[in-house]
Amino acid sequence: MKNLYLIKIGEISLKKGNRSTFEKQLRFNIKKKLKSHSRIKIHRGRFFLESDDDDISNIQYALSTTPGLVSFSRAVKVEKKLEAIKNAASLFAEDLIKRYPEGSFKIESRRADKGFEYTSYEISALVGEHLLDKFPVLKVDVHNPSWTINVEIRDLAYVYGTQEKGTGGLPVGSAGKGMLLLSGGIDSPVAGYLMAKRGLQLDAVYFHAYPYTSDGALEKVKTLAEKIAPYLSGLSLFVVPFTKFQLLLKQKAREEEVTLLMRAGMVKIADMISKKRGNLCLVTGESLGQVASQTVESLNYTGSETDLIIFRPLIGMDKETIIKISNKIDTYKTSILPFEDCCTIFSPTHPVLKPDSNRLKKSFLLLKGEEILKEAAEKTERFYFKP
C-alpha cells in the first residue's frame, strides 16, 4: 500500500525568489531518509509525500527529524463519495483512540471542489456522526479536541489524520557547510542540532586522547553522532588522535594556560579539516561563563586562532534550557554517561580566566606544535552516520 502524507513547511514559505532551492533541498533530504521508493509533489506550498515504505513508524520518524517542515499528517486519498470518506476517517480514528483513550475529537472539512454535493459543515457533521456511532467512547469537542481529522475535497477526497509536529527551521544544506566540535558532553550535540535547524550541513570532529580517554568515551561520542545524524541529514564524524598534542602541552605549556591552548589546538585542527572539506564555519557548544574557557576573553582568544567564523548557538542559554533540548533530541542520557576520562589530569586547578590574547598567541607559538597538529589532522579517522 502506498502511504500518503501531507507535509507543511513553515519558514520556507516566507522565501521569495529562491524558494524553489529550499523546496528542492527539503525534498532531497526527506527522500534520502526513506528506504523505499517515494515521490514528493509540491502543490501551492504544500508537500505531498507518497511512499512505498510499509513501515509507517519509519516514515513518521524520518519526517519528525527533518528540519524544514513544521508538521505532517498521514493522509488517505479516496473517491469523492461520502461512504469512502467515512471509512477512511474510521481507520484514522481507530488508531487515534488507542493513542488518546480518553480523548475528544473534531472533524474539519474544506470543499475546494464546490461541485461536491455536501457543504463543508455538512461533511464534518456527517463524518463526525459516523465516528460517534462506530466508536461509542468518543466525545466531540470542537474547541479543544485531543485530535482532529481533516477532510478536503479536491480532485479526489483527502482525509488527513492528526497533525504531528516536525522539527521546523530550514532544510539542512540550504545554508552552507560547517564543522561541529563534538565532545561527549551535553552541549555540543544540542549546538549541532540547532545549527542544522538553520539549514547548516555539518561534519563533526572529536578529539580522542587515547589512552587518557577510554575507547568507551569514543563509543559514547559515536552514539551521540548516531543520535543527531537524522536531524543533521547524515553526519561524517572525524576522530582526531589528540594525545601527542596534549602531552606536548603537559610538557611545555604554563599550567594555567593548558586548557585554552588545548582549545586553540582543537580549533586549529578543526580549521584544517574544514578547509579540506569546504566547511565555512565552526560550531561549538560554548555557553558564556559556563567554564573558564568560556569567558569573553577566553572565547576571543580561541576564536582568534582560526579565520573561520565560529557559531555558538548556546552562547546565551542557561543549562536548564540546553538540557531540555538535549532531552528532546534524546542525547541527554548518553551525554551524562560517566566516561569523563583521564583528560582531566591535563586540566589545571586554577586556569586563567581573563587571558590576554596576545600573550596566549605567543605561548601557542612557543609550543612549536604545528607539525604535531598537522600530523593529527592527517591521521584522522572518518566515520559516517546515516540520516
Binding site: 589512552p211 587518557y212 577510554s214 602531552l247 610538557q251 566516561f339 569523563e340 576520562d341 583521564c342 589530569i345
Partner: protein, 389 residues
Amino acid sequence: MKLIYLDWAATAPILKGIPALMSKSLLDFQGNPSSIHSEGKKAREQLIIARKTCADLLEAKPEQLIFTSGGTESNSIILSSLFRKNKGAHLILSAIEHPSIYEYYESLRFFGFDIDFVKPDSKGIISPDILLKLLKPNTIFVSIMAVNNETGAIQAIDKLAETIRVYEKANGRSIHFHTDAVQTLGKIPFKPGLLNINSASFSAHKIGGPKGVGLLYLQKPVQPLSAGGGQEFSIRPGTENTAGIIALAKVMDISLTKVNSNFTHAKLLKDLLITELSKIKGVRLLFGSDRKDQDLYSPYITSITVSPVPGEVLVRILSDEGIQVSTGSACSSRNRKKQMRILLASDVSGKDAAGSIRISTGWSSTETDIINFVSVLKRVTLELKKYHK
C-alpha cells in the same frame, strides 16, 4: 602477540576439561533435581555428590553448604537476612569489604540499623584489638573479608573469630561472624569448618570454574529474605544449576588438593615480581614493601602505584601490549571516591590510589610472564614519566 594474563583476582581462565564436563553434564543430567521421576533423581544424585565433595574439601558438613550463583549472592543472602533482625541492632562491616557487602550499609541504615566500619591499620590489616574496640553489647553481626581483592591483605580470621567468641560469651548475646573468602579458595589454606565462623562466601570462576556458580558456607541456617520452592534448604531457592555445580565441585577438587603447591608457586612468582619491580624507578609496592611483612599478604595479589601516571592509562597501554592487569580505581569518573574506597581505607593516599594497578597471578602464570610484564612496564613507565612528573 602472546597474551600475558595477570588479572586472576578478577577471574581465572577456565580449567582444561571444564567446558567438556559442563556440556556433558548439561546433556546427561537434564532433569529438575526436585522432580521425583528418574531423570530428576539422576540430577539430584549429582548434587549430593558435589555437595559431599565440596564439604570434604572445606572440612564442613554437606548440609552446611548452599550452592549459589557466586560470591555476590552468597554475601547477599547473609546481609539481606539481617533485615529480619531487630532494628537498632549494631552491625560491624570492615571498611575494605567487597561492594556486595559494603554497599548494603545504605539500606541497612535506612531500616534503622546502627553500623560501624572497622578500618584496617596502615598495612591493611584489621587486628583483633581494633575490632574489640568497636564491639558493643548489642552487636549482632560482623563481616570481615578473609583476603582483600585489592590489597591482598590476609586477615587473621581465626583470631578475629576468637575475639568475637570471647566477647560474645562475656556479653551473652550471639554475634554472626561472616567472611567473604572468595580470594582464598584453592589459593590459601582456608577451612571454614575448622574456624569458629558463621558463614563464608566462595565463587567458582576465581579458580577456573564457570561464572554464575558459587558457595555459601553456613555453620547454622539463617532465615533468608527471599522465598521460593525450597531448594538449597530454602536458603537459596530456585532450580539448581546442575552443570555449574558439578563444575564447581570439580575445580574445587583440583585446586584445593593442590593448595599448598599453588601457594608455593605464587610465592615464588611474587618474590620474583618484587625483585624485578624494585629495579624500576617510579614504581612502588603499595603493601608489603618491607619484606618481613610479606606473609601478611596474598602471594597471588600485588598492588603497585605508578603515580602520578594514572593507573587507568597504564592499564590501557599494557592491554595494547597484550598484558592484562587491572586497576581498582578509575581515573576521574564520578565514582572515583567509591572506586578508591578500599585503598583509601587502607591508608593509601589519593594520589597513589589513582596511580595504582593490581597484578594478580594464578597456577598457570610463569616466571617468563613476570619477566616480560616487568620489562614492558619499565619501558612504558619510562616514557610516561616524561609527561607525568
